[in-house]
Every structure is written in C-alpha cells, then in structure tokens.
C-alpha cells in the first residue's frame, strides 16, 4: 500500500494534494486496491460547488459502486476527463493519472481536519 508522505488523507480514503489555494483530489492506493477493477467513474462538472463530506462522484468496480466524498469545500475548477474514458487509470496510478478533480478551496482551514500519511496508514492498518 502506497501512502505518499506529501499528501493529506480523509477517513473516506480520498487524498488531497495542496497547491496554493487549490486542492487536487483522488482516491488512495488502498481504496483502489479494495475496490478491484474500476470500470466506471462519475465526476462533477467544472464550476460546481462542493461541500465537505458531500458526495462529488462515484467509482464503480466490476462488483460494486462507491461514493466519492468531498474532503475540502470549494469550487470545482478542473476534472480529470481521462479517468472517465479510462477508469483503469485509477487502479494503475491512483496518485498520478488517476486524479479526480481540482477544488479552489473556500476554507483552507478544513485541511486541518485531514490526516497525515502516518495517521492514515495507522487508520488503515487498524482496519477502521
């Protein structure tokens, strides 16, 4: 299980990469591995406003559908159309080509509620 040290993590297995006032969001290596072969991704539209803990999309594996949860509130300024056409990118490269959206944060202090790589690793290992 890869857990890059420079990212922040949510309980719902999203990762966040902070770039100034923007947050790039995806799902973790653990999440993609647990889901298995991902065959469908649904993402919000550019311009949508997303609120923390709401759902912003869906990933579906062969077996099941899982909601994606917003880790930080704001406006969606970019979505990764490539993963819509090639959902397997999420399995192949969850922290790279498998990214999902970029949010212009409305309240960057929400980042404090996310976990560090160490904390996330500990949570997963405890099986929570």
């Amino acid at each position: 299980m890869k857990v890059p040290a420079d990212l922040k993590y949510s309980k719902e297995h999203e990762w966040v990469k902070v770039d100034g006032n923007r947050a790039i969001v995806g799902i973790t290596d653990f999440a993609q591995e647990s889901l298995g072969d991902i065959v469908f991704v649904e993402l919000p539209s550019v311009g949508d406003t997303v609120e923390v803990d709401d759902t912003f999309g869906v990933v579906e594996s062969v077996k099941t559908a899982s909601d994606l949860y917003v880790p930080v509130s704001g406006e969606v300024v970019e979505v990764n159309n490539e993963v819509i056409d090639s959902p397997e990118l999420v399995n192949q490269d969850p922290y790279g080509k498998g990214w999902m959206m970029v949010v212009e944060m409305s309240d960057p202090s929400q980042l404090d509620n996310l976990m560090s790589a160490e904390e996330y690793k500990a949570m997963v290992e405890e099986g929570n």
Partner: protein, 364 residues
C-alpha cells in the same frame, strides 16, 4: 453470528493471493489477480474454480425417481445413468425454491447439486416429500467440487486422465480417475464456455487442485474467483439464484419455460405455473444495454415514461463485450427488443434499451 464455513482449499486460496469474501455462508475467493483478467483467462484459455461450497444431496432407493419427479419442474424421465439435467424446484405458488442439477448416478441413485446458500433449505424441502424407501442424504461436507472452464479445459484435464474426455457429451458425465483420484467427471459449467466439473471426496481437494494447475501450466490456466464466475455467467445470461430466481419468481417469468414440463404429470407448483403460462407472466426477464453512461445494479428500478415497470436483477460492465449491461424484470408489454427504458441510477433516469439474450455465446 455463525462462523463462516471454509472449503478444504482455503489455505490454497490464501497462498494464491486470493481476496476472500462471505458468500452464502462461506468464506470464498472473490478474486486472485483481478476479476477482469480472470474473466479473460476463462474466455481465452482456462480457469480453475473452487466450487465446493455448492451443496450435494444424494437420493437413493426404489422411490428416488418418483420423489425427484414430484418436486422438480423438468422431466427426470429424460435421464439415464450418466446424464444430468438442469431444473428449477418450485413452491406450490410457482416461486422457485432453488435451481439445481440432477445427476442420475445409477438406476435408483441420484445426486442433486444445489446452491450453497440453499443447502439446508433444499435438504429439508426434499425430505418433506420423501416417502419410505427413499434415503435422502446431505453429502455436501464430504464432497469437493472443482470446475475447470474455458477452451483449453479439455486439453488440460486430458493430461490427468485416461478417460477419453471427447466422448463425454454436454450435460453427461462418467466416473474415472483423475490424477489417481476417483471422480465424477461432468461436462457442465456455469461460464458459457466448454468445460468440466469434477466431484470427488473432499480429502483429495488439495492434491487435485494442485495437479490441475500444474497440468495447465503453459496453457495459461489460472485460479478464478467468484467475481469472474459471476461476470462470466452474467454474460451467458445464466440465472443466479437470489438474483434472477427467488422464492417469489417463477421459472416461467425467468424465461426458463423450457425447463417446465407440464406433460410429465403432477409436480409441486404445476398448477400455478400452468396458469402463469396460459395468462402470460406479468413480467419477463430481459437483457438491457445502457445508452447513457452508467452501470445498472441489482435492485435498481426500471421505468418507462416516469412509471415504474420493473427492476434490475444483475448488472455490471461485461468484460468480453465491453458494455454496461443488465438483466431485469420488465412488465410484459415493454419487453420487445429495441424498447428504450429508463434505469434509475442514484436518483437519475439513465437511458437503456432492450437487447437480445444471451449477451455472450461462444463460437462453435
């Protein structure tokens, strides 16, 4: 909560890197290296499945045939020793208790192969109808079942047995030694491919599992989990109990009318099924292909012009076809191929159309 049962191959699965999940009271491998790859392996080479969670009920005695005839919808008189039959077993209401295979082992000896989750239900059901002179025995715990499926299954299995596998016709079986172990070798399966199912004493499970995988080295064999078993059977439009068939769904409604033989005499459910056949079932099982982006899943509502007209029983991305497909029940007036319907996916109406079944049929 009762503990989940494990097959004799549990440790082999873990060693092969399987992800284990609960299925019908059993802890079973859902996948090893990934459902899509395993699916493809079965379509193009061969896959080995541990299906020893399935139940086996032996029925023996002079009244065995009569008993089976009275509780299944298909005609057991079509069987001779060495042949197998697919059949539903129904409630008096026409709903399905289970779908199963009936093997005629000898003149007065039969084997019913039933779904894992229904073993107790079926065993008790059969016993209720058993008269004196018939012995009904649940042999599930001492029987192992492996399925070897795919175009290279025959070539691989032939390396381990002197039985001429080409001589076994579809839905027939022979007894023979495979790697020195006495097996019932059956030309049946649940993937839409050619293949074999082996039944043998559970204590030999590990030996045979390893021998088949070794024999298939170089032929592209892989162990395959229940995840791909489901996508394979789904593409072939083979019913899965709990999805297409349930206690409240009849075989007539499920498009399995060919397994209901009204002219064989009385059997449990006959009256209800006959009435359904004459008036036509309210809903029919159809194949659906998504037009909009989305995947239909079990339980999703199907609607037409805003009115609810049915429900999805199974659905997924179909790996061999590359489309998002579903099976579902639709009110009888809307079942023509080409009809456009809406599937309610997370509150949104997504367009789909009815397409012919099965989705996948192997060539030749």
């Amino acid at each position: 909560m009762s503990e989940l049962k494990r097959t004799p191959l549990y440790d082999e699965h873990l060693a092969a890197g399987a992800k284990m999940v609960e299925f019908g009271g059993w802890l079973m491998p859902v996948q090893y290296e990934g459902i899509l790859k395993e699916h493809e392996t079965v379509r193009s080479a061969a896959g080995l499945f541990d299906v020893s969670h399935m139940g086996e009920i032996q029925i023996t005695g002079p009244g065995a045939r009569e008993l089976i005839q009275s509780i299944i919808t298909n005609d057991v008189n079509r069987l001779t020793p060495g042949a197998a039959l697919y059949t539903p077993m129904c409630h008096p209401t026409g709903g399905t208790v289970d779908d199963l295979l009936v093997y005629q082992l000898e003149e007065n000896q039969y084997l019913l192969v039933v779904n894992a989750a229904n073993i107790e239900k079926d065993y008790n059901w059969v016993k209720v109808y058993a008269n004196e002179g018939v012995e009904v025995k649940n042999v599930s715990d001492v029987t192992c079942q492996l399925a070897l499926q795919g175009p290279r299954a025959i070539k691989i299995l032939q390396k381990l047995t002197s039985v001429d596998l080409n001589e076994i016709k579809h839905f027939h079986f022979v007894y023979g030694l495979v790697e020195g172990i006495n097996c019932l070798i059956s030309r049946t399966g649940y993937t839409g491919e050619d293949g074999f199912e082996l039944y043998f004493p559970a204590e030999h499970a590990r030996l045979l599992w390893r021998a088949i995988l070794a024999a298939g080295q170089g032929e592209g064999i892989k162990p395959v989990g229940l995840g791909a078993r489901d996508t394979l059977r789904f593409e072939a439009c083979l019913a899965l109990y709990g999805h297409e068939l349930t206690d409240s769904v009849s075989p007539v409604m499920a498009g399995l009318g060919w397994t209901v033989k009204f002219n064989k005499g009385d059997f449990v459910g006959r009256e209800a099924l006959l009435q359904q056949k004459e008036t036509g079932p309210s809903h029919k099982l159809v194949g659906l292909e998504m037009i909009d982006r989305g995947i239909p899943r079990q339980g999703y509502t199907i609607s037409k012009d805003g009115q609810e007209v049915g429900w999805i029983t199974s659905g997924t991305f179909a790996p061999s076809i590359g489309k998002n497909l579903g099976l579902g029940y639709v009110a009888a007036q809307w079942v023509a191929v080409g009809t456009e319907l809406d599937i309610m996916v997370r509150g949104k109406a997504l367009k789909a159309k009815i397409v012919p079944k099965p989705f996948y049929k192997r060539e030749g």
